[in-house]
Subunit: 282 residues, 2 copies
């Protein structure tokens, strides 16, 4: 997905949010905003937003001296999600359709996100999210492709959300390769975060090779591409991965909560919706 | 009021909103965003936001070639408000406390605003706004100062809102000088807009001498200052005027709806509140 004009104020807002989170001085905040603003003329509309975000977060790290501002937040989210894990596993196991309930659980976990301006209380909001109907749900296609799948590529999104992905992976009971970011970026899951969520026990873990907060193919490693080509079912979590993969001409199931107007318009549904959207043929 | 870090993404959003409203091409929109972004390093936090906004809207006019993008919108808002005028005048006249109802009417009219990201349906939203309780209301002070006032300075805000100001002015039944912007800026009222609302029949009209979308004193004319110093009651409508006058050490009644987080935090109340706030002593 290309960058849209509305993304530019959002880039500034993201920089500001990080600066405020790590208690930058007013001078640091202003310098950061100035520097990010000066980057804008060099950001082409043809580039995906997560690609630009990776450059902006690098700038933030350079100015603030804080390389991983979300380290503590990621740990807290994973721990909170792990506390909920036994109850959710029980809920899925006793559900009328465990696979569907596991999909609802996994998409509910997508409320964990510090890259967009949303506020969430994980324990409180998750229950209402679990009861939210999918606005778009290609469940029959998903079930059918899953039945035949031997190699599943599951492209993860945020730390903590990883625990909810683990529940879906356990329910699918198929061989899964779980993809994480190569380096810390916003609150996205890295190998370390995936291990903290216990994903190494249920999936093969794989770095995308890229630090972008979304699966931007031109930035991914050769190793990632081998898995990407061989997979017979791909699950892509969250907006960042959607932005990176939305133009791909192959079967991908996007599982996400729509958190901004630009993505809502691109998909053609309302902000706040949750979707399991099948793209492509094969 | 100074510029706060949150104002910078908002400056870009404002430029974008105007560009989209006048159907700019994608290239024009990008160029506009680039140019406004390049202005950011030169915007000091010590400057009031409306001062910066006046420079940004001038840049927008330069790039798009549209000097007054809100001309048609202002006309429509004034006409819509004039259609509501007879019904509202009747409501005020038959109210238990006409002055208080007129204040509620005037602040309800402050929903008309194209400088902030709000959507309103004038006819539909006004009734619910009229029933909204003031979050902060120095009504007793206002009544007392009004009783003794001989020279009232009423600093207007948006075109269309002018009609609701007219109702308050008619209800106060005192000599009023009504202040408008010197040139078209966003949808703010100019002399022409004030006349279209019928304000010339109930008040002396005065240009602030400045094109800023807020009453920024260093940009105002000597003529304005004469009235400003002599007034024994000042009513300031809307956020832009609040931003320009919030640090003034003299009695001013701010009558406005709080439409952004920055102003909400500055006043210390929730976004969406309406206030009649007395500032200063004298």
């Amino acid at each position: 997905m290309n960058t849209f004009p509305e993304c530019f104020p959002c880039f500034l807002s993201q920089a500001l949010r990080v600066a405020q989170m790590i208690d930058c001085t007013t001078d640091q905040v202003k310098r950061l905003l100035d520097e990010v603003a000066l980057m804008i003329p060099d950001i082409p509309l043809s580039r995906t937003p997560p690609h630009t975000a990776s450059l902006i977060y690098r700038k933030i790290a350079g100015i603030t001296g804080v390389a991983d501002p979300f380290a503590a937040v990621k740990k807290q989210c994973t721990e909170a999600a792990l506390r909920m894990y036994p109850r959710l596993r029980e809920k899925i196991a006793s559900a009328k359709d465990p696979l569907f309930t596991a999909l609802q659980t996994a998409v509910a976990g997508n409320i964990i996100d510090f890259g967009v301006e949303t506020h969430f209380d994980l324990e409180e909001d998750l229950d209402s999210m679990m009861n939210q109907q999918f606005t778009l749900c290609h469940y029959d296609d998903f079930k059918q492709e899953l039945a035949n799948a031997e190699r599943i590529l599951y492209i993860g999104d945020n730390a903590g959300e990883t625990v909810f992905d683990r529940l879906l992976i356990e329910t699918m009971a198929k061989p899964v390769t779980y993809v994480v970011r190569h380096e810390p970026i916003i609150n996205d899951a890295t190998l370390e975060d995936a291990r903290a969520a216990g994903l190494h026990g249920v999936a093969e873990l794989l770095s995308s090779g890229s630090p972008a907060p979304g699966n931007i193919l031109p930035l991914c490693s050769d190793e990632f591409f081998v898995h990407y080509r061989q997979a017979d079912l791909i699950i892509s979590k969250g907006q960042g991965n959607y932005e990176g993969l939305s133009e791909e001409d192959r079967s991908i199931f996007f599982l996400l909560k729509v958190k901004c107007k630009v993505i809502a318009r691109h998909i053609g549904i309302a902000e706040g919706s949750t979707i399991l959207k099948k793209q492509g043929k094969r």
